[in-house]
Subunit: 409 residues, 2 copies
């Protein structure tokens, strides 16, 4: 039985072409039957690339491959499959990425090192890469500028809806487009990029600048989300710039000319990251957690993540229970400086506790109404300093247990 | 509907008297109706005490009180209630502990600072301490050497069975007894002692020595368990030594004369800690995780905890799925040194993966049988050094969501 679509789902936006990018999707039969599980993207010659990857110490073979390929800063091809993550597969895993890269490079006519690879799905099973390479020629024949939605669907695993975002930006008067797709639902924790996300733009940007923009953007998007605290072995975020737009040359340092581009890129990244939380396994509520008054932004972020990852906070919200005692517990367990007697907690904009105790005459009614909604906001003020952070997560429900107690079977 | 008893429950052992200790339990109506929720223990004059407390930065008022009371190293009374944790209650919380200590001290005839207090239950609600003090005289009148079981039952919250352990030990040819009770089921993570646990012995041991024994014992018992990664604000582990036994005087440094006592104490602590995991909220399987080959014991412990706290590992085990890919993920997310290509994983004693890849010809059948049992063993060898650690946890099931989505309502 396929899971029903997340109640927090957002519709797929219309995805106009990005000059210099063609995509296709198809069924390679890696694991799923009767659905696309493989995507191919081709980028115009001269495309630059930046990447951000998982900090998990046991990364998959495709992550190793992309890290090495990134050194040249050039990309012509992306191949991504769902159903098998090609992680913890030893020599067979390395052979699979090499064979796939060689096959894709042969179709496009580029060095294998300009092929980027990503895999998502089960860990620890050998990837039947012959199925990938057998399916690639048909995908190559079907490459199209309008293949974005098909690609977004082909990389889904436990996702219940496809995820994409798009923006336009101006660089020196010239309009450029930035579009991206992502997949992710479980094994989502923000220790770098998370999951798979592929962005492309027709802007012309040198690799080091592209990398700086992406790293900064990931910090305020994918690195602010968590579904279950479990950092994937396959997290891969790639940004391709085809250089097909005719805008004034960007200065290596970026600067004001890129302000609009940076803002649009961050918008795409945030849209995609939030879409992943909205599709968190079993999620029924989207939770925004704002921590202020910490001794530093880093400390605020750690406290926000401790709240976001607390099973007791997440289950309370699933039960529409504004159990702020559990929020206090999670603040305290983070190990960061906190003074119980200066701590304040709000839910849905209502301050329930201030300076270490419940607010006199606190009226639970508006909070109860807020808790029954789909989007929950939690605010914590530590009263110590100016450090603040925002993190997004979802609730922990029976759906999560259903999905993960029987994922392989 | 009261939850059914954990399938992992162990029967309560027979609890003979501990000379110098009398206990009683009763109903103060703090939160629960029609069941005991308050216990009182009286210790003989001269009793020494040691304590280990939560490292949560937002501890409850009773924890603050016990930390201060511990300075004298002397105890005459313990009062513990269930239903309200007296945490994040500000001035009202401090007043509640003072009033309770004064009332108990008056009954026994001792300074209030020799009264130890512990509360467990909802966080953030003011404790109606008048109900405690009103109930204490009847408990005082009913103090008895055989009150252990009643006390164990009175401190239960979401626990489904009472928890106790007992051992005898010899100090210089004289037999002494060590008995303890504990409560705990959720908000269990080992960042110091966890939950409430009270141990008493008739041995005669000076406070600094008692504290060293307890701190070391907690490290290998309560600090090796986790249910949900959430460190409670109320964790309190107290060890009382009444000195009623007539054994040769213990040297301040302990030494070989205490070898048997130390072993028995550690046995009691381990029994109680394991009973808490067996009663983990919603638990259906007890999981032992052994990590070896890490660069240090500390590193091994962190990796073992990352596995134990991973929702994906815990749900896989709930589903009887030997999903060792998730174990690899959890090793990698711990942030500790790990080399994917040296990593080996076993479940139920069967090595499924060695040196970074699945074992050739690996037969899943015995592992599947093991996974269908109640007690699951996971072993990880990092292949890097001599560091090792063992941690216990339980699976993550629908029962956990049921219990915690509606705890306050």
């Amino acid at each position: 039985m396929p899971p029903s679509i997340s109640p927090l789902a957002v519709p797929l936006p219309e995805l106009p072409p990005v000059p210099g990018v063609r995509l296709a999707a198809g069924a390679a039969g890696i694991r799923y039957q009767g659905r696309p599980d493989l995507m191919l993207a081709e980028f115009a010659p001269g495309t630059t690339v930046a990447g951000v990857f998982t900090r998990n110490r046991c990364p998959g073979a495709p992550v190793d491959w992309c890290r090495a390929a990134l050194r040249s800063g050039r990309a012509r091809v992306l191949v991504a499959n769902a159903g098998n993550a090609n992680v913890f597969t030893g020599r067979a895993g390395r052979e699979a990425v090499e064979a796939t890269a060689v096959a894709a490079a042969g179709l496009i006519g580029c060095p294998p090192r300009q092929v980027f690879l990503a895999s998502t799905g089960v860990i620890g099973e050998v990837l039947a890469h012959e199925r990938l390479t057998a399916a690639l020629p048909a995908l190559h024949a079907g490459l199209s500028e309008v293949g974005w939605e098909a690609a977004a669907r082909a990389i889904m695993t436990t996702d219940t809806f496809p995820k994409a975002a798009t923006r336009t930006a101006r660089i020196g008067g010239t309009e450029v487009r930035i579009s991206g797709i992502a997949k992710g639902s479980g094994m989502i924790a923000p220790d770098m990029a998370t999951l798979l996300a592929f962005i492309a733009t027709d802007a012309k940007l040198p690799m080091p600048l592209l990398q700086r923009l992406l790293t900064a953007g990931a910090a305020q998007s994918f690195n602010t989300i968590t579904v279950d605290s479990d950092t994937s072995t396959s997290d891969t975020l790639l940004l391709f710039a085809t250089g097909q737009a005719h805008h004034p040359r960007a200065r290596p340092a970026g600067g004001p000319a890129l302000r609009d581009f940076r803002s649009a890129l961050n918008g795409v990244l945030s849209d995609l990251a939030l879409a992943v939380v909205r599709d968190g396994e079993g999620a029924e509520k989207l939770i925004a957690i704002d921590v202020a008054g910490a001794i530093s932004a880093r400390s605020a972020r750690r406290i926000a993540l401790a709240i976001a990852n607390s099973p007791l906070v997440k289950t309370a919200i699933a039960g529409a229970d504004a159990n702020w005692g559990r929020i206090v517990m999670a603040v305290g367990k983070a190990g960061e400086p906190a003074d119980r007697d200066r701590l304040s907690v709000a839910v849905g904009g209502v301050w329930m506790a201030r300076n270490g105790a419940v607010v006199a005459g606190y009226d639970e009614a508006p909070v109860v109404r807020h808790m029954q909604g789909r989007e929950i906001s939690i605010a914590v003020d530590l009263g110590l300093g100016a450090g603040k952070a925002r993190v997004y997560t979802c609730d922990l429900t029976h759906g999560y247990i259903d999905i993960n107690g029987s994922y392989r079977s």
